[in-house]
Symmetry: C2
C-alpha cells in the first residue's frame, strides 16, 4: 500500500506497482493516468514478455554509445553512416540537434553526406550554453580540411535558430560554406492553414519556376 | 543497423535501439513515433536511472501476484482491502473488471465493502468466455454465507453490460441482492454534450427530489 504521487488521495497500490507507475510517469508525455494504464498492462503481461522489455532497456543502455566521430548513437566502433565511407560524401556535414533527427533526414533519401549531432540546442532559459552541446567537437572536425559545406539542420524553434546563427558565426571565418534548411509551407499543406511567419518565410524564399 | 517495423524504409537504428523502440511500441496506445521518442529519451537518461526503470519492471513482476481472495494485485499474502477486516463490510461485494477499477472506486471514499476482480469481461469477439474470467471464483465466494449484496461495477460497455447480466442471472437464484452502478449524466457535465443513450438512461433512472 503506497501513496500515489499523481493523486491527492492515498491509494491501494502495492509499493512495487506504485514504483512502476512512478517510473512510467517520468517519461516525457506520459501523464499519471497513462502511467497507471501502462503499469497495469505490464503487470498483466506474461512474465517472460515483461522481462524482455526490462532486458531491452538494460541491453540498450549497456551497448549503445556515441559514435566518436559524429555523436550519433551506435553499438559499433563507428556508426554505420560514418563507417560507410564509400557511399557517403565526407565534404558535406549536416548538423542536427538529436540522433533521431538523423533518421528524419535519412528518410528523405536525398542526403548523402555525413552528420554531426549536437545533443541539444543553446537555450539560456534551460541553462544550456554553447559548451554544453557538441560545438567544440564540430569545430574540431572542421579544423581538418575536407569539409566543403555545413548544413545547419537544427530545429526551426527559437533555440534551434539561435544555435544555427551561433554556429554559422563560428564557421564562416573558416571559409566553409554554411547553409540552413529552407523554411516554407509544408508539401501537401494548405495555404489557408499556414501560420503567417511560415508563409512570410516561404514568400521570402520563393524560387524561379 | 536494423529495419524498423513501423517505417517502410530501413533506418539507421542500431539493433538494441530498434529492439527498445519495438518494446515500447507493444504497449497500449503507444504508436511508432511515440515509441521512438520514449526509446531515445531512455537512451539519453543517466544509466542508473534507466536501470531503475528496468528494475522496477522486474521487481513488480516478481513481487506482485493476485490476492487469493479478491484477485486484486498485491505483494502481500492478502491484499490490504481484504486484510482490513475491521474497516470493511464483508457483506458487500463489488465486482470489477480490472484491478485499476478498484482504485477508481476507492477514490470515491464511499465504498467500504470488499471487491472481486474478474480480470476481463465476456467478449465473444475476443474469444473471452465466462470460464476465462474469475466468475467461478466469485460463485465460490458466494457459496459461503455472509454476502448480502453484489454490486456489478463492470464497465458501461457492451462487454461490461453482457458480463453484468450474465453474472446477475447466476447470482439471483442464490438469494443475494444484485445491483448495477447507475447510468446517467456525469457530474459537472453538460446536458447539451451528453449522448442520447446516456441521457435516456439518466431519464429512466431519475430520482425523487
Amino acid at each position: 500500500m503506497a501513496a500515489c504521487r499523481g493523486c491527492s488521495s492515498v491509494e491501494y497500490f502495492a509499493a512495487p506497482i506504485a514504483r512502476l507507475i512512478d517510473e512510467f510517469e517520468k517519461l516525457p508525455g506520459i501523464g499519471h493516468k497513462t502511467a497507471q494504464r501502462l503499469a497495469f498492462h505490464m503487470l498483466s503481461m506474461p512474465e517472460a514478455r515483461a522481462l524482455e522489455f526490462s532486458d531491452a532497456i538494460v541491453e540498450a543502455k549497456r551497448r549503445i554509445h556515441f559514435c566518436p566521430q559524429c555523436f550519433n548513437l551506435t553499438d559499433l566502433d563507428l556508426c554505420p553512416i560514418c563507417a560507410a565511407t564509400h557511399q557517403r560524401d565526407p565534404s558535406l556535414l549536416c548538423v542536427v540537434e538529436e540522433p533521431r533527427d538523423i533518421m528524419a533526414m535519412e528518410r528523405t533519401n536525398e542526403y548523402k553526406g555525413l552528420y554531426h549531432v549536437l545533443h541539444g540546442a543553446i537555450s539560456p532559459q534551460d541553462r544550456v550554453g554553447p559548451d554544453d552541446i557538441r560545438i567544440r567537437e564540430l569545430l574540431g572536425r572542421l579544423a581538418a580540411p575536407g569539409v566543403r559545406e555545413v548544413i545547419l539542420a537544427t530545429n526551426p524553434s527559437i533555440e534551434g535558430e539561435a544555435t544555427a546563427i551561433y554556429i554559422s558565426r563560428l564557421i564562416k571565418p573558416l571559409g566553409v560554406r554554411t547553409t540552413r534548411l529552407a523554411h516554407g509551407i509544408p508539401v501537401g499543406g494548405n495555404l489557408e492553414y499556414a501560420d503567417e511567419v511560415t508563409l512570410a518565410r516561404s514568400l521570402e524564399g520563393r524560387r524561379e519556376l
